[in-house]
Symmetry: C2
Subunit: 406 residues, 2 copies
């Protein structure tokens, strides 16, 4: 609860405008009376706001609705392409850029291999090129682009959008937001990639207020908590680092410098590393056959393939990873009590009973009396979920800063 | 972010009233212009609200303040005893009841041994007697008592205030709020005791927006997260169960039914159990001497005493507990990124370097690059911190339900 609920007149006016706008995005086509009901505004207030929207071509009429007795009401909807969000998923292997319209429909995308992220400033220049490239595809002036949200793996400083530390990129203290903002004519926001993903996966059209914990199981392991529609960020901006909780005392060394982190025993890279070790020791014949004897060629996908083909060594590695992921999730569930846990990331694409095994370990290790209504699901956002999440980060920041140009 | 920021006119009026009220509580004595500035309200609005408060004797004048040029302004303050909060800490060994005034000053308290909490309904009747007892001490009509907040160990159902499961009390599915509400003429709210404690410990007069994680290290282990001034509750109301995260795979059986929980290896009861075991095996001479050979008499306090006297077996048990508490805290810190961790509870009263050892283990096991500004402190709220927290739970619920009778 913020200490003073500040509500000066201009803020009330703008909040009312936003509420009508969001109501149109979410519920449209809809008539004025229904908007007034949903937003708790008076009909004259709604009419004044809508008139302004109609003038600015942010809203359009789509004919008459059903009458509830009197004359049939005019139905209104948002003009989907009145504004655009740009979202960038700066992945370890691929950069994905999307442009979404006001209904969160993806209307353009660009992919390209990430390549070498050095020197940092030149790489940021490339990101800028991709953003302006997709902006050009939209055939819209800069004033119709609301901004760019950037989803970046690593620790992001909350206030500045600086990348404090990104093991995936080998970056330290890169002022990503500042550099991009110098180059672009619209607002830029930088968020941790796992949190951007979590924000997208948590979105549900059912309007229920959920507490969702989304875990990204890939080359690394990270997570994000979304309460209602709001992302939990933490005090400094480094929340969600479930990959670096200790699950094996004095276990293998992790990228972060500690030992026995969840990421060091259960991430895609950890699975691959254990398989390479096994092959070197002469075990796991199926894995050895699949990689043609080239240990360096072993990745997690191949270990899953070998396990599916009956390789017991591969199966043991995967079972162990699922068990540790379940233990890690159980910790988070005990502390956070979410009603939804969403499992995403590369490891989830390998099929088999990996998902079921994680669920079983989670149920076994969580406090059994707590979070009884909790549901565990696989992510539904697909390949562009993180980039779409970056668009949502942008939207949410603009909302909080009351900076939507309407 | 709630989906629609509903702000119908009556709600705005009431929110404004609350803001003025809270501003007076927090900043008073204060003049009208300063209130207007802090709450972003117009001076006429503030004047109207204050006039109403003066009429109801909720506010009083305390003379003239310093002039800033014109005539000296009238200084106002809340009448501290215009209303009272009652808070109840239903502890395993002691029930503590407090009455606080509007400035959160404790003006009455009652203690009594908890005794046998069965039959549940009779025990709830006793609680009711204690509450009406302290209410009588206040010499105030029921209309001046804002309600009672109950801090209860165990899992509390969010919507109903039902005690789902309380291992400390051996209770399951006890409709605590409903039973008390039937007996009392003012609102009752039930909250988990660790979260009530967290809410009290998180309160700081510096107005900074902190993210505090407060851990109660006692007979059991539990925690609460407070974001700004708001308690994080979770989806079903069972958040903060850090005592039941697995820290030792296949470790000792825990009260919750799982194995290797933090509580099963590092709580006061776990420390005592390990010492009893050691004494049975003929080790830990100092502990044996201190308890006069009666193993049943061993509690955590005695183990700390023996360790302070040089007993190596006792010291090992305590060091191990500190290490596991640090591991558990590191997990929570990685996921939650708080800027404050507060350590409370019986185990913290034993002095020595227990606190320092926990801090060292936390720093060692947390992701070193994250939460760099985090501060770890010992709780400052004292014996009545949980009961005072129960008053804050009440205040916060009344605020959200807009049910303060002013």
């Amino acid at each position: 609860m913020p200490y003073y609920h500040k509500m000066a007149k201009p803020q009330i006016a703008q909040t009312n405008k936003y509420n009508v706008f969001r109501c149109l995005v979410r519920e449209g086509p809809i008539n004025r009376a229904a908007i007034a009901r949903l937003t708790d505004l008076s009909i004259p207030s709604v009419m004044a706001i809508i008139n302004n929207f109609l003038k600015k071509r942010v809203v359009r009429s789509v004919g008459k609705g059903e009458s509830s007795g009197g004359k049939p009401p005019e139905m209104l909807e948002i003009v989907p392409d009145c504004f655009f969000y740009i979202g960038v998923d700066v992945g370890r292997t691929t950069i994905r850029v999307v442009a979404n319209n006001m209904k969160s429909e993806q209307i353009a995308h660009i992919n390209e291999p990430t390549g070498v992220p050095f020197p940092e400033k030149r790489f940021v220049g490339r990101l800028c090129g991709l953003i302006t490239g997709i902006a050009r595809q939209l055939n819209a002036g800069a004033d119709r682009i609301l901004g760019a949200g950037i989803a970046m793996p690593g620790l992001i400083e909350k206030e500045t959008g600086k990348v404090l530390f990104s093991p995936d990129f080998g970056w330290s203290d890169v002022p990503l937001k500042e550099w991009l903002q110098e180059l672009l004519p619209f607002p830029v926001f930088v968020e941790n990639a796992n949190r951007a993903l979590a924000l997208n996966e948590a979105y549900s059209p059912d309007e229920e207020n959920h507490t969702s914990f989304t875990v990204n199981l890939g080359y690394g392991i990270g997570a994000g908590l979304v309460i209602g529609e709001e992302l939990y960020i933490g005090a400094s901006g480094t929340s969600g680092e479930i990959g670096h909780i200790t699950v094996v005392k004095n276990g293998p060394v992790c990228q972060c410098g500690n030992r026995g982190c969840l990421e060091a025993v259960a991430s895609g890279e950890a699975i691959a590393r254990q398989a390479r070790e096994l092959v070197r020791q002469g075990g796991a014949a199926k894995i050895a056959a699949l990689c043609g004897g080239n240990g360096h060629g072993i990745d997690a996908r191949l270990v899953f393939q070998a396990a599916a083909g009956g390789d017991e060594g591969a199966a043991r590695i995967i079972d162990r990873a699922a068990e540790y992921i379940g233990i890690g999730l159980a910790m988070a569930v005990n502390v956070l009590d979410p009603d939804r846990v969403v499992l995403c990331g590369g490891l989830m694409k390998n099929g088999g009973d990996f998902f079921e095994k994680i669920c079983a370990a989670l149920q076994k290790h969580k406090m059994r009396q707590s979070s009884r209504q909790m549901v565990v699901t696989a992510g539904k956002g697909g390949e562009y979920s993180t980039a779409n999440g970056a668009c949502r980060v942008l939207g949410s920041n603009l909302w909080w800063e009351r900076a939507l140009p309407i």
